[in-house]
């Protein structure tokens, strides 16, 4: 595999331990900006301007509104405003039965719907006490890894657009990644009948079994994308324009990131070696080794490096699992005829979490103790990683140019459907 030299050689980094976590020394920022700063306290002679970015700005990846206070081209204070895509999913969950909720949460993180289904059904299974057969756990893991690959492909394409088409001119990396993502959507169409909102996970297992010939087709597609990943690396990593826009931009302090509840590739790109797939195995991850990609750079370039490494790792995991899918049933419960057939056993709060492409995606669900409503959750809360990612903006953006803020925001990869729910 041809790789250009990375701007962050791993062997020269000094490490220290803060709160039991090994972090790179050079990323620790002593004086963080105050997100609640009164702009009257800023230099009195400065000619400040307030600029609204969003909620219809294309580079905000959805309907995020960011209020910027600018001193010339340099940002002084950042205030994000959410809620433009709030649809009341959690309230809707209090009206629908456990089986009916899966297609609703598909629309939360609309870039990786499989992850939402997996996360919420794992919580329901924990509450109800349903076992998942081994074959279903394999199918879930394969779907999750293919979905992670698709999500990171979409991120890489839109990240190229965020830099004003800096890579290859125009939107060419975007066109490349969308060509490959189409192959993955075709795979999901063969498996579930849907290209985007699958509704394939259910309480106790899956709805759709692997069709004949699907495993061979999927292995072939993954091999194609594995080759294309090398193309992207040649295309992007050594590109001087790409490095000029990303190296040293949007540096995230790992201690601040942990304090803010950041997880996933953004935390790993700050050198913290944490991954729920390895540390707290769910589905079939206890049967396969997961190599966690980390990078000590902490900037936008490191987040690119970590995500591309994760793409390769996803291809490897999915290919290995596809070769050994065990025989057996795909759902432990009988096919549900009535939506009220699946019932909770107690009213205690249960939490379960998975590693989504954006970080820890968790579901906290409380069962209903009233017997007549025991097929409906009492309270359902989705812990979205994207919401925590956006909390970073007031801390990392001050002092940067507007163009760097857009690159930083793109490198975090927030999905507004998941933030607002």
């Amino acid at each position: 595999m041809s790789l250009h030299a990375t701007p962050h050689p791993k062997d020269t980094v000094k490490w220290t331990t803060v709160g039991g976590v090994r972090v790179p020394v050079h990323l620790l920022i002593p004086n963080l900006p105050d997100p609640f700063m009164d702009i009257e306290d800023y230099e009195p002679d400065a000619d400040l301007m307030v600029l609204n970015m969003g909620p219809q700005h294309p580079s905000t990846h959805g309907v995020l509104r960011v209020k910027l206070v600018l001193d010339g081209e340099v940002c002084v204070k950042v205030t994000p405003y959410l809620g433009y895509l709030h649809r009341g999913v959690e309230k809707l969950c209090e009206k629908l039965s456990y089986v009916q909720i899966t297609p609703i949460v598909d629309k939360n993180d609309y870039v990786s719907p499989m992850m939402n289904e997996l996360a919420i059904n794992m919580a329901f299974e924990k509450l109800i006490g349903a076992e998942v057969p081994r074959r279903a756990r394999y199918i879930r893991t394969i779907c999750a890894e293919i979905q992670r690959l698709g999500s990171h492909l979409l991120w890489l394409g839109t990240f190229g657009l965020d830099m004003g088409g800096a890579i290859g001119g125009g939107g060419s990396i975007f066109m490349h990644t969308f060509r490959e993502r189409e192959l993955l959507l075709d795979l999901f169409e063969d498996l579930t009948g849907c290209r985007f909102h699958y509704n394939t996970h259910t309480v106790g297992g899956n709805r759709h079994d692997i069709p004949a010939g699907w495993a061979a087709k999927a292995t072939q597609v993954l091999a194609v994308i594995s080759k294309r990943c090398i193309e992207y690396e040649d295309f992007v990593r050594g590109n001087k324009v790409f490095q000029a826009r990303t190296v040293g931009v949007g540096i995230i302090d790992p201690v601040l990131a942990i304090d803010l509840g950041i997880s996933g590739p953004v935390l790993r790109a700050s050198g913290v070696d944490v991954d729920l797939r390895r540390d707290q195995p769910y589905a079939a991850y206890d049967e396969i080794a997961v190599n966690v990609a980390t990078d000590p750079g902490g900037d936008c370039f490191s987040r690119y490096v970590v995500r591309v490494d994760e793409m390769r790792e996803s291809i490897r995991i999915a290919t290995e699992l596809l070769a050994g899918v065990p025989e057996g049933p795909i759902c432990s419960l009988k096919p549900v005829k009535l939506p009220g057939a699946v019932k909770a056993k107690h009213g205690q709060g249960v939490y379960s979490s998975i590693e989504s492409p954006r970080g820890e995606l968790g579901t906290f669900v409380v069962g209903n103790t009233v017997r007549r409503q025991s097929a409906i959750p009492y309270r359902c809360k989705i812990r979205s990683p994207s919401m925590h990612l956006l909390q970073l903006l007031p801390y990392i953006c001050p002092g940067n140019n507007i163009s760097d803020i857009i690159v930083t925001l793109g490198s975090l990869d927030p999905i507004m459907g998941e933030v607002d729910r």
Binding site: T17, V21, L82, K91, L256, L260, D279, G362, Q391, D420
Partner: protein, 170 residues
């Protein structure tokens, strides 16, 4: 689920709390800030997972009536239960210990904001205030985050009428 022994010992010995095996200890609002600081600074629970408020409307107490076959129901006042969940990332050991505690907040009272201990609690507490109506005292910026600022009521309360239309969508 079993909780980490050092955190359970800290709760029992220093704060005199009883550990619930499923949902963690029930903490009074006065103790919450001291417990949170001890968990973060002494036991390295630095990763903030979530805060969830669950609203429970008032339940009237019913005495048992053997003739009519009615079981006794213990009455509870109108309150919200606030669940906090934390994680310890000790990546050389690759352990991810999780610990949870909850605070019972009667309606009309407030619970201390823990966003000064974990910055990640900031927006989540705002969300719970917006949707469930739990007031977090000492929060630096307790505004609505999801709903419009002039929205009446808190939608995720159990007594919120969702079948009737609301301003401004009538």
């Amino acid at each position: 689920m079993s909780w980490p022994t050092d955190a359970a010992t800290l709760c029992q010995d220093r704060f005199g709390l009883e550990i619930c095996e499923a949902e963690g200890p029930l903490v009074s609002a006065d103790q919450a800030l001291a417990l949170a600081t001890a968990l973060k600074d002494e036991l390295d629970f630095r990763f903030f997972v979530h805060v969830v408020s669950v609203h429970y409307p008032e339940v009237e107490a019913i005495a048992a009536d053997e003739e009519k076959g009615i079981d006794a129901i213990i009455g509870t006042p109108d309150h919200t239960m606030v669940h906090y969940r934390l994680r310890r990332l000790a990546n050389p050991n690759r352990s991810t210990d999780t610990f949870a505690f909850r605070i019972k907040v009667p309606t009309g009272e407030s619970t201390p904001s823990l966003s000064g201990v974990w910055l990640g609690a900031d927006w989540q507490e705002r969300e719970q205030y917006d949707l469930v109506g739990t007031v977090f005292s000492g929060h630096p910026d307790l505004r609505r985050i999801m709903m419009p600022e002039d929205w009446p009521g808190h939608p995720l309360r159990r007594d919120y009428a969702i079948d009737t239309s609301h301003f401004p969508w009538r």
